[in-house]
């Protein structure tokens, strides 16, 4: 009985956290949807961990708890992979931006030099 209290409280708190982050616009919707779906799917299991026992039995897994543990692990793995992918994409984007900034700075310096040729240095136009 104690276990289900622990897991149910935890699942509710986590779903509330996701909702709060969403409400404050701290979480992009594209990630939030995934987390919400996972949270809502897992929450009932917190209240009754034996719900999955029949499914686990059919799959040849000893208990529902082990099945949850295993699928949770796979899920975390996929999520980290997805984050690595997103980071790579972001890095490529920031790189391009950095190059763009450098090009613009160079261009600006060239324009300034040409302008300085027309007007005395220090003149405000």
């Amino acid at each position: 009985m104690q276990l289900s209290v622990l897991t149910s409280v935890t699942s509710v708190v986590i779903v509330l956290c996701i909702l709060e982050l969403l409400r404050r616009q701290q979480l992009r919707e594209k990630y939030a949807v995934v987390w919400l779906l996972i949270g809502l799917a897992v929450m009932p299991l917190g209240f009754d961990p034996s719900l999955l026992d029949s499914v686990a039995g059919a799959m040849g897994v000893a208990s529902g708890a082990s099945l949850v543990l295993f699928s949770g692990f796979v899920l975390i793995l996929l999520v980290s992979l997805h984050l690595s992918w997103e980071t790579s994409r972001l890095e490529a984007e920031t790189r391009s931006l950095a190059e763009e900034v450098a090009l613009l700075r160079t261009e600006l310096a060239e324009v300034r030099r040409t302008a300085a040729g027309d007007a005395p240095v220090g003149t405000v136009r």
Binding site: E99, V101, A102, T106
Partner: protein, 238 residues
């Protein structure tokens, strides 16, 4: 202008303030017709100031991107400003500008990418152990796909014509060894002609080379991985 061509020498520089003035002075003396672009790769010393004082155009990256990022910026600049030839030279003085005319002649002879290579007659540069195996492996594979003998595929002393500048401005690998090995593989797979020109490298005046058996072994493994990935990836859109 060198001959009929507008030539841009690109020098990727990361904290090279110490030797940069000499390198730029030598460039101006040996290649008076060429423009110099120093790509300041997020230096924390006076690299940009030294380069400006020496009369080079400076492109300052807001933070360090590595040689690959710095070079892609160089090629983008060359492309946007309509240069006919871009020559890549290290900012630490290892590359002798006296060999640039030889690289330009290789471009005239039909190469799209001319690599200044050690181990091909000139100079006395020697390496041993895993680092040597790595270089052998790279040379063997790249020579095969390029259809010409390439003995020093990790050389950063190279010259590109317009076609190659156009490709590298759009596509230039930024990861480890990408600026040399993968960029060469990409150029070959886009149908560009790669040739090498024998050059002698000078000992570096500043900085320290990385050499220990463990690091050499890691280098071998990384080189093999980079090569495998470069071969396995889709060719850059030509």
């Amino acid at each position: 202008m060198i001959g009929e061509r507008r030539v841009l020498v690109v020098l990727p520089a990361w904290n090279e303030a110490e030797g940069l003035a000499d390198v730029l002075a030598e460039l101006a003396e040996r290649l008076p017709g060429a423009d110099a672009l120093v790509v300041d790769d997020g230096s924390t010393d006076g690299t940009a100031g030294v380069a400006e004082a020496a009369g080079a155009v400076v492109a300052r990256l807001p933070y360090n991107l590595g040689v690959g990022g710095a070079m892609r910026l160089g090629y983008r600049y060359a492309h946007e400003h309509g240069y006919d030839v871009a020559v890549q030279v290290d900012a630490d003085g290892q590359h002798d500008p006296g060999y640039v005319p030889a690289l330009l002649r290789a471009l005239d002879a039909g190469a799209d990418l001319a690599i200044g290579a050690r181990f091909s007659g000139e100079g006395a540069y020697r390496v041993r152990g895993p680092r040597r195996w790595a270089m052998r492996l790279l040379s063997a594979v790249l020579s095969r796909i390029a259809g010409t003998r390439l003995t020093d595929t990790t050389s950063g002393f190279r010259a590109c014509n317009r076609r190659t500048i156009e490709l590298f401005a759009r596509w230039y690998p930024v990861e480890y060894l990408g600026d040399t090995v993968e960029s060469t593989v990409g150029a070959v797979r886009c149908g560009l002609t790669v040739r090498q020109v024998p050059v002698a490298m000078r000992p570096r005046t500043t900085g320290r080379p990385s050499a220990s058996p463990t690091r050499a072994l890691v280098y071998l493994l990384r080189a093999a991985l980079v090569l495998a990935l470069a071969m396995g990836r889709r060719a850059p859109a030509g």
